[in-house]
Symmetry: C2
Subunit: 442 residues, 2 copies
């Protein structure tokens, strides 16, 4: 079995609400798993083990992006400073009507390159042309949960095709790829359609990844149509009986907390998107005190501009302190819990991802700490959350494989990817009036 020794790194962990900083550690990886972690020089190592010197680098669990639309990197910067309605109806949906499967493939590779450069090793992605997304994930070497988005108006035959996608790719790429169902949202489907999704998911033993309660208007729309909250619509459609990844959920109603806590749900929280679109924020402390898992997410880059989870860590802390008008809320340990273990729980990987421990999968990001802005180091966790950026990530390992070393991508050819994307830009940026894949109703 292939073995790799990360030598002499510092390790940042969080357990039971306390941050631990362990300087000068060795991490032994065998195959896809972390085998042992000990102070540097203490592990008996055979000559066959590949050594990765990491003195001065800070090791954290590979970051988990719990909700994205990766191929939308193709549209980065194309819909700035517009309303959320215009964002959907005048930009995103018309833009997406231009996309081909090959565009999605190259866009995914660009987004995966960006995530590796930012220390992200897992993404829960919600888009279409997902065979090409899966192919790109397989090549890039990171880990993904993939769903093929489906709107209610696309009908049962389209839903059946997304079921076939699940069957084609479940467990592929040495187990790095898992596949779920992706009905778009309660406001773009019907309860009957959702019930059918839940039926398929239960049958296949998979989960559901869906947008919900993003705006107060969406909740009001649900009340007007059905007399109940979008969360209750999901409950009564039996969606919540399977593992359910809920993107955003900024506006839960009072009764929704108990519904969510009583079911295998988790919240994907994308604070930069919420700030940029003026959407408000989610009641993270309420979710957590109710026992509902929360992880961090970027959403697509047309709202977020980047696929950077480190940035979401910072914005999680800043926005929760701001919303509470209280500088003591969302302390450093809780930010790390949400980013690391919380992300793993939301994608149903608790105990396998989100920590650096023997027996966990070997997904690791190693960050440089040498900029002036990262010094002194009284508090390495504060430096990580409030000073570090994606560019401080030096080395990335996923499933035991080194994907980036010294900021050089090892599995992807960035020059080639940029050339392929550039070739497509002119056509892609031309919006086609009247041609949309869906209409945002509220």
């Amino acid at each position: 079995m292939q073995a790799l020794l990360i030598e002499g790194c510092d390790i940042l962990t969080v357990e039971n609400g306390a941050v631990h900083f362990s300087p000068r550690q060795d991490i032994l990886i065998e195959g896809a798993y972390i085998k042992a972690i000990e102070p540097t020089g203490c592990l008996p190592i055979s000559n066959e083990v590949e050594r990765l010197p990491a003195q001065g680098l800070l090791a954290i669990p590979g970051l988990i992006n719990t909700h994205a639309h990766v191929p939308m990197v193709l549209f980065r910067g194309l819909a700035e400073d517009v309303t959320i309605e215009a964002w959907f109806n005048d930009y995103i949906f018309p833009l997406e009507s231009n996309l081909t499967s090959e565009d999605v493939y190259w866009g995914t590779l660009l987004g995966l390159a960006e995530m590796i450069e930012a220390g992200v090793t897992y993404v829960a992605d919600h888009y279409f042309f997902m065979d090409e997304v899966a192919q790109a994930v397989s090549e890039a070497g990171l880990r993904a949960n993939l769903v093929w988005a489906v709107f209610g108006h696309e009908g049962e035959s389209k839903l059946a095709r997304t079921v076939q996608f699940i069957q084609r790719w479940q467990g592929a790429a040495e187990g790095r790829i898992t596949t779920w169902l992706g009905p778009h949202a309660p406001y773009t489907t019907t309860p009957d359609f959702l019930r059918l999704c839940a039926h398929y998911a239960r049958d296949m033993g998979v989960g559901i990844h869906i947008h919900v309660s993003e705006t107060a208007a969406q909740v009001a729309y649900s009340r007007q149509l059905y007399g109940k909250s979008p969360i209750r619509v999901l409950l009564e459609s039996k969606v919540l009986e399977v593992p359910t990844l809920l993107a955003h959920c900024l506006y839960p109603e009072e009764e929704d907390y108990k519904i969510l806590a009583d079911h295998p749900t988790g919240i994907a929280h994308a604070p930069k998107t919420y700030l940029k679109l003026g959407m408000g924020t989610a009641p993270i402390s309420r979710f957590r005190s109710a026992g509902i898992p929360v992880g961090l997410a970027t959403d697509g880059v047309v709202s977020n501009n980047t696929l950077d989870i480190l940035e979401q860590m910072r914005l999680l802390a800043l926005t929760q302190k701001d919303a509470a008008r209280d500088s003591t809320v969302m302390p450093i340990a809780e930010v790390l819990e949400i980013a690391f273990e919380g992300g793993a729980r939301v994608v149903q990987q608790a105990g396998a991802l989100g920590a650096l421990k023997p027996g966990y999968l070997a997904d690791v990001a190693l960050l440089r700490q040498d900029r002036a802005a990262m010094f002194p180091r009284y508090n390495p966790a504060a430096n990580l959350i409030y000073s570090a950026s994606a560019q401080d990530v030096d080395t990335v390992i996923c499933n035991g494989q080194v994907l980036m070393r010294d900021r050089r991508l090892l599995t992807l050819d960035k020059t080639k990817i940029k050339e392929e994307v550039q070739r497509r830009l002119e056509r892609l940026s031309q919006r086609v009036p009247g041609r949309r894949i869906a209409t945002y109703p509220v």
Copy 2:
């Protein structure tokens, strides 16, 4: 006269509310000034001109930090997740009672290294032991407006010594250093003390840099003591008759807008600090529509954690959109106006700094655009604000001198600075109970 040609860079400018992106330009610098800007290859250049190849780099005006306490980098990470009262009384003031002038010198060098690494070429700094700060600025090569902070309880003799500091350093370091007066705040001085400051400032033809209306409690405290807002206290003390740099001003009263607009004032806005301390935010759009200049600032790193103006640009946009619950407010062009020209106006350098134009001082930051997160480039200004970070800054020029090239600092020895700071850390991090330089009253 020494001449430098920045060859083939892209240039981002903003004028009359419109962003302009000019690819492949040459910038000719003679001495401390920009002499000419033309499409690459079009300027007649003698052989004596030093050439700085900059193909693929994005040129922006050197960034202006309108309010900082640079030496506080020494305390980075020491006061996390605490209340604003504890922040002052249990952390900052006791910590500062340990500082020596030599600590301040080395702390300043560390902070200046951080700012150069982040493309910041101008800082308005408000601290003490300012001779050492001025010495450090002189060596580092960037530009600064320096004030020696003075509290009311320190008395007139201390104020007189800060006047002597002004006289010692005004116009030093080839004109890169200007000096003003720095009464700490209306809540830590008296109206009589402020009147004396205004008298000195008028006499010397200098400005005043002061904290004001940071919290609603401070405004209430002023009303209780004096029956008027802190801004009106400044007006009636004649402070506003000289150029006045107002740090923060989150809670102006209705009548304050007209007072500020009718006087040579400007606001230093530090959104990361406000988020982190749960302070709320400032009414930036109101200030601007009233004609009051606004620039960006970091405050000290014990609240902000970094001295990074690019990050403040992003947070300015995000927090203003969030506060207005409107994704169309604070559009990209306005963010650039505030960061570039706004900063220059706040430090009374309009027409000399804040733009890349012939006749302006040669303060330039050049950013890499090669990360996956900066591609595609439909909208280079959106990429700058929403994707770029300090680490993308490649080259920094101030007053015609290259301070950083290829991320290597040319005027400062970062290794030596870190060693000197590290030596001081243990003593500095020991808080001395009961020993404070001041007490925060509200």
